[in-house]
Amino acid sequence: MTEKKNDIKETQDPAKTEASAEKQAKKEVPAEKQEKKGASAEKPKAKPKPKKNPRAKLFKSERMTIVAPAPHAKGKQSVPRIMYTVIIALLPAVAASIFFFGTRAMVTLMVAVFSAMVAEFACNKIMKTGVTIDDGSAILTGLLLAMTLPPTFPVAATALGAVIAIVFGKQVFGGLGANIFNPALIGRAFLQASFPVKITTWTLPAFASSSAYFDIATSKAVDTVSGATPLGLWKFEGIGTHLKPLLFGNIGGCIGETSALALLAGGIVLLILKYADWRIPLSYIGTVFLFSGALWLIDPSRYPDPLFMILSGGLILGAFFMATDMVTSPVTPLGTWIYGIGMGVMLVVIRLWGGLPEGVMYSILFMNGLVPLLNRWTRPKYFGEIQEESKKK
């Protein structure tokens, strides 16, 4: 309904020739309504578009111009553009993961993206909405989901997760923009709950065996080296991991959480282009740093140091690519701060005192659920509102 409004067309009477008055009167009616109401929103009586492009044939004498409400200028942003830019920003991390984990990671990535697109298409057909694959959001969901899975995750389960992500994470709410929770994380949460063993069976990257910090894993000569993530090692075995491998990605973990540097590169591109709100990663990671740093200062033997907390697990991936998902993050600046701080606190609490080694997924999903409330509570004061109040006092 809304899209029609913007391209109501009216034949433009030529600048030079005079048209008969009755003809003018007839043509004028819909446009008049349009302008008077400001927006003929309730019932835009758009004329059906002529089959041929009239502009091509009708020259000078009957020129077509668009009659539409202001503004007549438009920014360059568009939803697909945002989606595809985020996808491109993920590519360094994708490349890094394929470099570290090999073709197996690539298969997982491709399966997830493909399944997500198929699920999106199927939902479009069943729900009889227009096909929305081309807006890129399904591709992005599939890609993000794959980034949160271990490279050796079964193909069928990956596909299942992508379908769940699209169907239960997005389409049941009404499609793009209507979902409450990050679809990729919904898919991941389903997989975590369904296949908890497989999703925590990590493969070490190709180069890990040569490094000395992986004592347990390297002590065994098995074909597929399965090992714990640095967080798992810390939580269950009390073994820390050096920061350098964490930074470059030479560690065990899921596809996307390994190389902090590659993720940061993409994340910073998003921040510069303003496709991600800088407040979210800052407040999220900052809270984790301060909270875990305070605990570390109190008792360094019990709590890991804050840099380890930041670089391990999927925090970078989550903070830059998942928490910043526009649909599921607050729109108000204050709400965004609360959102980020809430996630940070949740993350540290889950990691340090919860049953799971990793808390990024649940911390984001938890705060996603609060976003509608945050948006409501943190309505910004509109221009001039503060003064009115202070004057009353």
Partner: protein
Amino acid sequence: MKLSTFKKGLHPEDYKYLSQDQAIETLPPPDDVYIPVQQHIGTPCEPLVKKGDRVKTGQIIADSSAYVSAPVHATISGTVKDISKYYHPLGMRETMIHIQRDGEEEWEYLEPIDDWKWTPKEKLLKTIRDAGIVGLGGATFPTHVKLAPPDDRAIDSFILNGVECEPYLTADDRLMVEEADKILLGMSIMMHILDVQKGYIGIENNKPGAIARMQKRVVELGYPFKMVPLKVKYPQGAEKMLIYSVLRRKVPCGKLPMDVGVVVNNVATAYAVAEAVTEAKPLIQRVITVTGDGVKQPKNLMARIGTPFKELFNVCGNVKDNVNRIFMGGPMMGMTQYHLESPVVKGSSGIVAVTGDLVEELTTFPCIRCGACVLACPMNLLPLRLSKFGQENMAGELEDYGVSNCIECGCCAFACPANIPLVQWIRVGKLRLREHQAKTAKEKA
């Protein structure tokens, strides 16, 4: 130097280069003019002439006895051919007086004023009213009302609005370059009427010629005005934004600039005031920018009010064949024109014709709550929520979220990546809130 500005807003590509250097060209009086009897905000005027009457240039042809109102003058000498409904640039058909030129110009001037400094303020205000001067920035609020605030409002500052923040438009810019003296004179007359000492001239930084010229004349003529160059940002020219940019004062919601002791007037208004007071000329013409990439030779024209747009385009080499959209005013708030018989009115600051390359037809996506509109809204509103509430007819929420504060500047819709017609939905919301309020008021009564 850090330029002052307001918070949020955005900067669309301004395309001022198309007509910025075109000197104002005076359009000869056209053969036919169509003069709407209603050209201001306030009580409508009634026609004072009838079909067949002979009118002189400057003769009052429509007026109202109400205070918040401004008379309308004949802009050419000739015969009244008809008083009937014609196309108005705002889209509807309005009562207009059709005058056909019949030869030489014959003027009917206002009552002359010898020395405005020694003339009673009431007289000056009457002259301004008789001249039919309204806010020429586009708001068309009668200027004499603006210049006579109630006694309980202490006005301490006067701001001359030379911002012209809408892309494309250069009419005010050229006027400042070419008629700086008259503008400054008009400004001092208005300040004299208001009895205000502090005068500010706000000009956006993309008009270096205007800033230089005005600055030079202010110094040379010894005016105590302060030049305030402003950062290029839309909607800098909106009254509330300009007051904040220049004086850091926020006009409270639902209040007027005079509530914070400020009166803002457009440069074109100041020019018209000077002409009326010193030359006894009523407002019968204005500068209008004819521009856009759909026009062969963009120009700034001094045109009689009532001139059909097609005459303007004729002078500018006519519109190109691939023109896609023609609108009066700037691209952010302007009204699309579907009929070039529509005349220039007092509020017309420009007429822009653009080809398809500039304004694409866009598909609408669902809102992804990216917050681009929130970051753009100069009034600090949440356009995405307001438009949703408008669609869903949620009057209570509309009120809570301050829908009536929206100035409809179009920043949100400009920024929206999903191409949602936010401004239109917000207007629907305003309408629905008003309906709801009327209903509840009725129920209470």
